[in-house]
């Protein structure tokens, strides 16, 4: 399926997957992330339950220590 990931077009070789599986699939390995689907925040605890659909606009941001 085709989705928007971090404002870029992305083809995912799966028919269905959860947000947590997408994070694994894309190898986003940092422990601290902020995730949004279609503009709405998805909290960490909900990433296992939320399914990605074709056409979704997904944002995965890395939070890096240091300040």
């Amino acid at each position: 399926m085709e989705i928007q990931l971090n404002n870029n077009k992305e083809i995912i070789e799966r028919d269905q997957l959860t947000l947590a599986e997408l994070i694994q699939y894309k190898n986003f390995t940092f422990p601290m992330l902020v995730t949004k689907i279609n503009g709405l925040l998805v909290k960490k605890v909900d990433r296992d339950n939320v399914m990605i659909k074709a056409g979704d606009d997904v944002i995965v941001l890395h939070l890096i220590s240091g300040g």
């Binding site: 601290m32 902020v34 939070l63 890096i64 240091g66 300040g67």
Partner: protein, 194 residues
């Protein structure tokens, strides 16, 4: 818009600074110099000698609460700027109350867990507020890797990858770049684009 117009426009604005370390102290000073009328600054820590490699404090302030030291420094630049200090650790409960009157909030924490906490809190409980974050600023050089990511009213500045460690410390130049990019974004939001 000349400098006087800019000052008039900024005089009534309130900006929240969540954390007064490398990002927060430098961002707050930049905003104070251009004349943002009020800053709400928070931190629970005290100035340590190890902070002086990047944070806007001085040797005679070591041991002082960071919010008090930063207020002193801001008011040495401009005594008319109102500085509201909160010597407190921010959490999901107190963030909406402390920053409720702010036009823009600047995330300036050190730890990634705290960054995640404030992003989730603002998106969930204060969705009308702009939040300007720093993420990825350790080390030196690599100017070309520092960029911006925007989603809704949430802005991220930094390289998105360089985590601080013993061999990869946060240092004044790169921390200052990100802190000033955050301040620059605050101005763009308040003043509008050129």
């Amino acid at each position: 818009m000349n400098d006087q117009h800019i000052r008039t426009k900024l005089k009534d604005k309130v900006v929240g600074i969540a954390g007064c370390g490398g990002l927060g102290s430098n961002c707050a000073v930049a905003l104070a110099r251009v004349g943002v009328g009020k800053l709400v600054i928070t931190d629970y820590d005290k100035v340590d000698v190890s902070n002086l490699n990047r944070q806007y404090f001085f040797t005679d302030q070591v041991g002082k609460a960071k919010v008090i030291a930063l207020k002193e420094n801001i008011n040495r630049i401009d005594p008319l700027i109102k500085v509201e200090t909160h010597e407190i650790q921010l959490n999901e409960e107190n963030i909406p109350d402390i920053f409720k009157e702010c036009d823009v909030i600047v995330e300036a924490f050190d730890r990634a867990e705290m960054k995640q906490m404030i992003v989730e809190t603002v998106l969930e409980k204060m969705p009308d507020h702009y939040l300007i974050c720093g993420s990825g600023l350790a080390g030196w050089g690599e100017n070309e890797s520092i960029g911006m990511t925007v989603t809704g009213k949430l802005y991220f500045f930094g390289d998105g990858s360089n985590e601080v460690s013993e061999d990869f410390p946060p240092l004044a130049p790169r921390v200052g770049v990100v802190a000033n990019m955050q301040a620059n974004q605050v101005l763009e939001i308040i003043l509008g684009k050129m």
